[in-house]
Amino acid sequence: MLRLVDLSKTLPALQPDLPPRELLRGIDLDLAAGDYVAIMGESGCGKSTLLNLIAGLDRPSGGHVELDGRNLSALDDNGVTRLRAARMGFVFQAFHVLPHLTVAQNVALPLALNRIEPIEPRVHEMLAAVDLAARAGSRPRELSGGELQRVAIARALVHRPALVLADEPTGNLDPETAERILALLRESVVAHQAIGILVTHSHAAAASADRVLRLGRDGRLEPA
């Protein structure tokens, strides 16, 4: 269960004579397990800031974020980090699969961080789910972009998080691969009964979500 309550973020003014910039304004959002939404908006409208607030990587100016009933603002940095490790998964535009780790080691990372045992079967199961069982021992540099993003999806879901945040996950992929990745992401999120938030400005990508929200210039989040 993810709740955004009257969430706002004001950035300090870039110049002393300008007023502070209200990036996000009174955002309220309730998402339940299995919800899969897309958030759209122009570049610089605050999509990434919203994502960071949800992930606990940034602190809101007003309101708060609750995940599974826990208020992120009430936790210190280490508390939020632990919550993130246990309950969240991330998929990035640039994949960010750790280069020195094998595919399996990358996927095993969240399990190790959460001390979930046994690791091997779950990694295997997860890699099989993203159709990469054969590449478990490979190094990231041997993989294609689409494969790398599948590794990232496996890594984001292997520890059964409550929330998966995907930031423009197909930005670096060709349309055909992108389509398959979006389908995989959606399937996986739903299969794990997680909440999925897909941040994108691609209408094609947004179309894969159940619901599309638009972050406006005024800092409000409204249905598209």
Binding site: N52, T81, F92, A94, H96, L98, H100, Q105, N114
Partner: protein, 849 residues
């Protein structure tokens, strides 16, 4: 075309300007290396110039010098030479290292006193002749009493301005100089304004010098000027052929080069240490540039994709390195001169080693040394940039553009063959003999060893990290996986640690071994309970027969050994050899013998120091000829002993034999053994009562040992300082490479933060990586350092200073040092992690190019 060049210049060199901080460390390290090199070079140049000036002050316009050992030769040689047809002017000289007594003598140091015949020296040594009618205007003097004393007046000496300043004396003052155990009192007649500001010397009349210092009939040197048209080389040969044993001819240039040779090995040693600082600086440039290339991977890849050839890329990156080197040199040169000026003022031209007494050198301009080190600074920076430049040129631009990480950078830096080749070459050349008395191959072997070790480091890193178990804690596991996955990147830091630890470790082992050996040696050469000394060897003090009787009749003494110090000139191209006459028959154990043979009946046996083997090729049991008292006597090398006091050689002969051969009954040192129950203080009092108390020195072996080790430590102080700088540069290199690598891995940290690693865990992860890298560097560094120390001990020291020593491994110190380096490296890594995380981890993840 020029427009293209401008764009490229901007692309490559512009970032030096825009982000000077990144290059700052490299520039500073090179500046330090160049500064040290220039400083050592300038100090050496200044000292040698001053030393040469001193020699030229005395030899002046002479074409030829005739010189013997310090003990001198018979004055009858003077008229013989004066009457030779090829000779125009002949100047007899008696040089004495006179020890000032009383207030002037405090602070030690002998005064170089030159006894000359003003009429003969006038045309040869103009600077040493007092200017006429000093003090008052000649025309104004009316009374006899107003006249200033002259050089011919009894007991009058003239001081160089530097000596007058050093001893705080002015014209008309009195000074007492030690002669035997008595004193010779002199009046300062005036100054010698023409003597250079760095020269500490005094001039008196030759007859006064002979009489007052009990050297009647003796000269130490004769300067000659040849008649016009006489061929100097043939005159040199002809005169040389007629000289008595132990007396040689040389041109002033030869004499100067011989004097320079006295300290050459030491000076070369210092220069090598300065070079080491520069080499460590090159490592730092390598680390920094390697990381720089990694960081700018995409940018460089883009330039390659845009059509820059591999060659052009390498050239631009080398130019970048050269610019860093030039900047470093630009800063280093003035700093070097400032350091040199400071060193000359604080510790003197020999940097504390005691080679150039009597000279206070002025800062000299050293164009060759300066340009040399500037060139070396630039070359070091270019060499440091070369490998990263080649790496950048080699990498596939398409791949570099596609993947954002640096995982495969430097992956090809793994071939071990060149490294093994270097190590084998080092092993091969280390056995070669010295060139011109310098351990050229020893130094080369050290360099090869160092380069070889660094080259095989990536392979060692791979082997070591592959064997590490993967720990359970995720941050630790990530550290190990990172090292395992990219051992090449790890070696960038480890190479710096290796170089620093190897050099510092080698020095620590060598100096530790040396000190231990000197300590043992001191206890061997000082077996008596008490030592009595008239003055340092070669100075003007000694005990005559009457004083020897007085010493012998002192109550409370069980045994007395008299020692006479003289010197021998065996080869005019080499410095003088010390001759030590002492009771040998009953007392051989007093010298630390390394080997000995029985002397055939009827032969005279002598004990030679190791330097005699190295410099004169003397072998155990060999018959050699010694010039004693103007004659040559044949002696047998009965033993080889270790002598840390005299690097140019020493020969010990039995005192009784020496006395029969020379008739010289004087002694300089006395070893005293107390009778059972006698009290040291009481005996010392009794001795002082019998001898002039202010001109003798009484010391117990413990004090001498302490003073000797103090001198030892002082000599090595400069060595330590240079070494410390090299280590500091090495550590700075490690820190720089960590910082830059951490910066390059910002995105990775961002991902880990997202995945759920806390800031602390990331810092710990980097700390663990740093520690592991440092441990690799320390272990390989210690191994290399031990090997280098063996070369230092058995090749460099043996060939430079001709003494052997026992290897002592100071495990405690090395362990402490290794731990400290590891700790520092860990701290540097942790700090670099914190710095890297200052940049928003979140943004780093989204930072796409």
């Amino acid at each position: 075309m020029s427009g293209m060049r401008a764009v490229l210049a901007h692309a490559f060199l512009g970032h030096l300007v825009q982000q000077p901080g990144r290059a700052l460390m490299s520039v500073l390290a090179l500046a330090l290396g160049v500064a040290l090199g220039v400083a050592v070079s300038v100090v050496n140049r200044s000292a040698l110039d001053e030393f040469g000036r001193g020699l030229r002050t005395v030899s002046g316009q002479a074409d030829i010098e005739v010189r013997g050992a310090r003990g001198g030769f018979d004055e009858s040689l003077y008229p013989q030479l004066a009457q030779r047809p090829e000779v125009e002017t002949v100047s007899p000289l008696l040089e004495i290292d006179a020890k000032p007594l009383g207030a002037a003598g405090e602070g030690g140091g002998a005064l170089k006193l030159i006894g000359l015949d003003v009429f003969r020296a006038a045309s040869l040594s103009v600077a040493l002749i007092p200017p006429p009618a000093q003090g008052t205007g000649r025309g104004e003097r009316t009374a006899e009493s107003a006249r200033a004393p002259g050089l011919l007046d009894e007991d009058t000496l003239y001081l160089s301005p530097a000596a007058a300043q050093r001893f705080g004396l002015a014209s008309g003052d009195a000074i007492a100089l030690q002669s035997g155990v008595g004193s010779a009192r002199f009046r300062i007649g005036g100054l010698l304004p023409a003597v250079g500001a760095g020269q500490m010397l005094a001039v008196t009349d030759i007859a006064t010098a002979q009489w007052r210092f009990e050297r009647l009939g003796v000269l130490t040197r004769i300067d000659l000027r040849l008649r016009e048209g006489v061929d100097a080389a043939s005159a040199l040969r002809a005169i040389g052929a007629d000289l008595p044993p132990g007396v040689f001819v040389a041109t002033p240039a030869q004499a100067e080069s011989q004097a320079a040779r006295l300290s050459r090995a030491y000076r070369v040693n210092l220069t090598m240490l300065a070079l080491i600082a520069l080499v460590t600086g090159a490592f730092l440039v390598f680390s920094a540039q390697a990381v720089n290339v990694v960081r700018r991977r995409a940018e460089l890849a883009f330039l390659r994709a845009a059509g820059i050839t591999r060659g052009a890329l390498v050239r631009w990156l080398l130019l970048e390195g050269a610019l860093i080197g030039a900047l470093g040199s630009l800063i280093g040169v003035p700093v070097g001169y400032a350091l040199a000026a400071l060193a000359l003022r604080l510790i003197g031209g020999d940097l504390g080693a005691g080679y150039f007494q009597g000279a206070a050198p002025a800062l000299a301009f050293d164009p060759w040394g300066t340009t040399g080190f500037v060139a070396l600074g630039i070359a070091a920076a270019m060499a440091g940039s070369a490998a990263p430049a080649i790496e950048a040129a080699r990498s596939d631009p398409a791949l570099a553009l596609k993947s954002g990480d640096a995982a495969d950078s430097f992956a090809r830096f793994g071939p071990v063959a060149p490294g093994l080749l270097c190590l084998s070459a080092a092993l091969a050349i280390v056995w070669l003999p010295p060139i011109g008395g310098l351990p050229v191959f020893g130094y080369a072997a050290i360099a090869l060893l160092l380069i070889g070790s660094v080259l095989i480091l990536p392979r060692l890193a791979r082997l070591l990290f592959a064997r590490l178990p993967t720990p359970r804690a995720p941050w630790l596991a990530l550290a190990v996986l990172q090292l395992r996955g990219a051992p090449h990147l790890a070696t960038l830091g480890a190479a710096g640690v290796l170089a620093a630890v190897a050099l510092a470790g080698a020095m620590a082992i060598m100096v530790g071994s040396f000190r231990q050996s000197v300590d043992v040696w001191l206890s061997q050469v000082l077996p008596a309970d008490l030592y009595l000394r008239a003055s340092r060897a070669g100075e003007s003090g000694h005990f005559d027969t009457a004083e020897q009787v007085a010493i012998q009749s002192t109550p409370g003494l069980a045994r007395i050994d008299f020692l006479r110090h003289q010197s021998l000139l065996l080869d005019p191209a080499l410095p003088q050899v010390a001759l030590i006459a002492r009771p040998l028959t009953a007392d051989r154990a007093a010298l630390p013998l390394l080997a000995s043979v029985t002397v055939p009946a009827g032969s005279i046996g002598v004990l030679a120091s190791e330097a005699m083997q190295d410099l004169y090729g003397w072998q155990l049991g060999q018959r050699v000829r010694l010039p004693l008292a103007g004659r040559e006597i044949e002696v047998v090398v009965a033993g080889i002993w270790r002598d840390y006091a005299r690097q140019h050689g020493a020969v010990a002969i039995d005192l009784a034999t020496y006395r029969t051969q020379t008739g010289d009954m004087r002694v300089n040192d006395v070893g005293l053994w107390l009778a059972p129950g006698a009290d040291t203080a009481q005996v010392a009092r009794a001795l002082r009562a019998r001898l002039p108390a202010d001109s003798i020195e009484l010391a117990e072996p413990g004090e001498i040992r302490k003073i000797s080790l103090g001198i030892f430590d002082r000599t090595f102080a400069v060595t330590y300082a240079l070494e410390a700088v090299a280590v500091a540069i090495g550590i700075a290199g490690v820190a720089a490479s960590f910082a830059a690598l951490a910066a390059a891995r910002r995105r990775e940290f961002g991902v880990l933060r997202h995945i759920g690693l806390t800031r602390g865990e990331i810092a710990r992860m980097l700390g663990a990586e740093g520690a592991l890298v440092a441990v690799l560097g320390v272990l390989t560094g210690l191994a290399t350092g031990t090997a280098i120390s063996l070369i230092l001990i058995h090749v460099v020291n043996r060939q430079s200073f001709h003494w052997s020593m026992e290897l002592v491994l100071p495990w405690g110190t090395l362990a402490l040092f290794g731990s400290a380096i590891t700790l520092l490296a860990t701290a540097a890594a942790v700090l670099s992690a914190r710095a890297a995380m200052q940049v928003d981890a979140v943004r780093a993840v989204r930072e796409d190019w």
